[in-house]
């Protein structure tokens, strides 16, 4: 039985394994290999052998990319992640709970909140850069901060403070990542047994308390799931940067933070574009390790908090 099952199982997995092997694992292996090749020549695939040079250039102070990675890409990536993930999760939670508690207009709201998910990212990015435009953006019009640079500097005048650029991009990222989270949370909420709420009612628990002490803990599996996936997503943030700040990742006052919004993946692409695949690969591997670590930590931390 056991052994019979064994080969059967592999049979069931065969399609996935084959496809993954060709289109996922092989490229990954390839990436790792290239990341260890010295002076990898893209024209004829030749290289000057195995080396840690690429990693040195990225990791060691004084390496070619020390500034790009340690002073720009990594900080940006981390800051973006640490801001957008919690914010979006909390917002999504509130919205989901709200949606779950209202008597009417549910459907309409649901639809509205899901719209960004079904919308072509191409257009949205452009629309947002218009919204945040320093001179002409609606954002300035609404908040009456005319001439205060959000993402583009005021010519010859004020420079873009890192903070405001950060705000703009976080706004965009959160906006874009909300719908899916809301969806998951709503799903979770609909699984919560009404009796828990009745019980809480009888125990004279206030609304807020019910949410904090019962709803949220009961959602913890969903929260953990969303947290991990969106952490991974945030670490891979790239399109939003291009969408808002253009292909040079913006240029902000370096006294207020990194001078551009370039992220790790941005750096990776940049290197590929310049044909420096070996650096790109090395960076990709490093990013992968970082993500791994974060995910592991989250699992550890959540062990206690999450009930299954």
């Amino acid at each position: 039985m056991e052994s019979k099952n064994n080969w059967k199982a592999w049979l069931y997995l065969a399609p996935v394994i084959v496809l993954m092997a060709v289109f996922t694992l092989y490229p990954i292996v390839n990436t790792v290999v290239v990341s260890f090749l010295k002076d990898y020549n893209q024209i004829n695939g030749s290289s000057k052998g195995f080396t840690f040079y690429n990693y040195q250039q990225i990791l060691s102070p004084g390496g070619l990319f020390y500034e790009d990675v340690w002073l720009t890409a990594l900080p940006n990536t981390l800051i973006l992640t640490l801001i957008t993930v919690p914010t979006s999760i909390i917002l999504a939670l509130f919205i989901a709970i709200g949606l779950n508690s209202i008597p009417f207009l549910k459907k309409i709201f649901q639809t509205v909140f899901f719209m960004p998910y079904v919308t072509n990212a191409i257009a949205i990015g452009m629309v947002f850069s218009v919204i945040f435009d320093t001179q002409t953006g609606i954002f300035n019009a609404i908040f009456g901060t005319y001439g205060f640079p959000w993402i583009f500097p005021v010519p010859g005048g004020a420079t873009v403070a890192y903070g405001s650029a950060l705000f703009s991009i976080c706004f965009y990222i959160v906006w874009h990542s909300l719908p899916y989270k809301i969806l998951i949370f709503l799903g979770g909420l609909q699984n919560v047994d009404q009796q828990y709420y009745d019980a809480a009612k009888i125990d004279a628990a206030s609304r807020a308390k019910t949410i904090m002490k019962i709803t949220v803990p009961l959602l913890s599996p969903q929260i953990l799931y969303v947290m991990i996936t969106s952490f991974i997503g945030a670490f891979k943030e790239y399109n939003s940067v291009i969408g808002l700040f253009g292909t040079n990742g913006g240029a902000f006052d370096k006294n207020t933070g990194p001078s551009s919004m370039k992220t790790m993946v941005f750096f990776i692409y940049d290197q590929i574009a310049k044909g420096k695949v070996q650096y790109a690969s090395a960076a990709a591997v490093i990013l992968f390790v970082i993500i791994m670590l974060f995910t592991a930590i989250q699992f550890k931390v959540s062990k206690k908090r999450v009930h299954y």
Binding site: V16, V22, Y117, N120, I138, P221, A284, F288
Partner: protein, 309 residues
């Protein structure tokens, strides 16, 4: 000491107030919280909807107006021509055909691979199951774009690239996206929730795994499968990079998005924005409808899948 506590007199917070006062208060509270909830939701909804509003009005504006430095919240002259032009410029027939072919086949393919894998991971015992699964999950953490490069070489070596090789192009656009770790994960969770007794019962009735999968599991997981179907279809509708790579230099292979970007590339006149936005609206609307119609399923599917760590 122990006899100290029984004679504590417990009361609720505002017990000094009379009954109807209490009720008034609680009623007030309920109304207030409801109002606040609606306000909050409405505000968020506004933020959500604004870019779409902008997209739509831009799609009706005239080039000159879009180019203006202080944006107008409503087009001065409504220009429907943008739409007719968008239609005329987009080779809609071909684009739609390609998108549907690629979308539907890759979706169906995904469904099959997902069902099989999820079943194996959720029900079957075999060595290295958890290891395999964790590997699968791990692949989700890798910047996928690193793979695009190598994959293109692969498909070209597999002979799927060629000026007139439409079938090849389809294959190339479909195959790499026929596996989705996320959906496998989702469905596995769903399968796991199906009580093991059913499985054993089926075994007792002499059903094979295969029959059990199709006769019991799949029907039970239908909502999730429908969800996966819809989400995947949406994904295909929005996918850009890979198809664009495959369709390089041959517009007959373009999918909707490629058509969108290709036909209205930034290189061309800014005054195109109107038409561009019109085209975007044209592309967005079907998905929106799809969602509105299937909202129920999507919601139910995801909730049924009940993601658990």
């Amino acid at each position: 000491m122990e006899n100290n506590y029984p004679n504590l007199q417990l009361v609720i917070k505002n017990d000094r107030l009379s009954a109807e006062k209490k009720n008034k208060l609680s009623l007030l509270g309920r109304i207030l919280s409801l109002v606040l909830t609606y306000a909050f939701l409405a505000f968020m909804a506004l933020l959500m909807i604004f870019p779409f509003y902008w997209m739509i009005i831009t799609s009706l504006k005239e080039g000159m107006e879009i180019n203006q430095m202080n944006p107008t919240f409503w087009p001065q002259i409504i220009r429907w021509e943008n739409y007719s032009e968008a239609f005329s410029r987009l080779n809609f027939g071909t684009l739609l055909r390609n998108t549907l072919v690629v979308g539907i086949f890759s979706t169906i393919g995904t469904l099959f691979t997902t069902i099989f894998a999820a079943f194996a991971f959720a029900r079957l015992e075999f060595k290295g199951r958890d290891f395999m699964f964790s590997i699968l999950l791990a692949t989700m953490m890798i910047p996928g774009e690193m793979m695009v490069t190598t994959n293109y070489v692969s498909v070209s070596l597999l002979g799927m690239i060629g000026k007139d090789n439409l079938m090849g192009a389809y294959a190339a656009m479909i195959l790499p996206f026929m596996v989705s770790v996320f959906y496998i994960y989702l469905l596995r969770q769903n399968f796991k929730q199906i009580p093991n007794e059913l499985y054993l019962a089926a075994k007792v009735d002499g059903k094979t795994d295969w029959q059990f999968l199709w006769k019991v599991m799949v029907p039970l997981a239908m909502p999730t499968l429908i969800t996966i179907f819809i989400l995947k279809l949406m994904g295909a509708w929005n996918s850009y990079v890979w198809p664009n790579l495959i369709a390089t230099g041959n517009q007959d292979f373009w999918l909707i998005t490629n058509g969108l970007r290709g036909t209205f590339s930034a290189a061309e006149n800014i005054n195109d924005y109107g038409v561009q936005m019109a085209a975007t609206v044209i592309v967005t609307v079907p998905l929106l409808l799809l969602f509105i119609f299937f909202r129920k399923y999507i919601m139910r599917g995801v909730s049924r899948a009940g993601i658990k760590g």
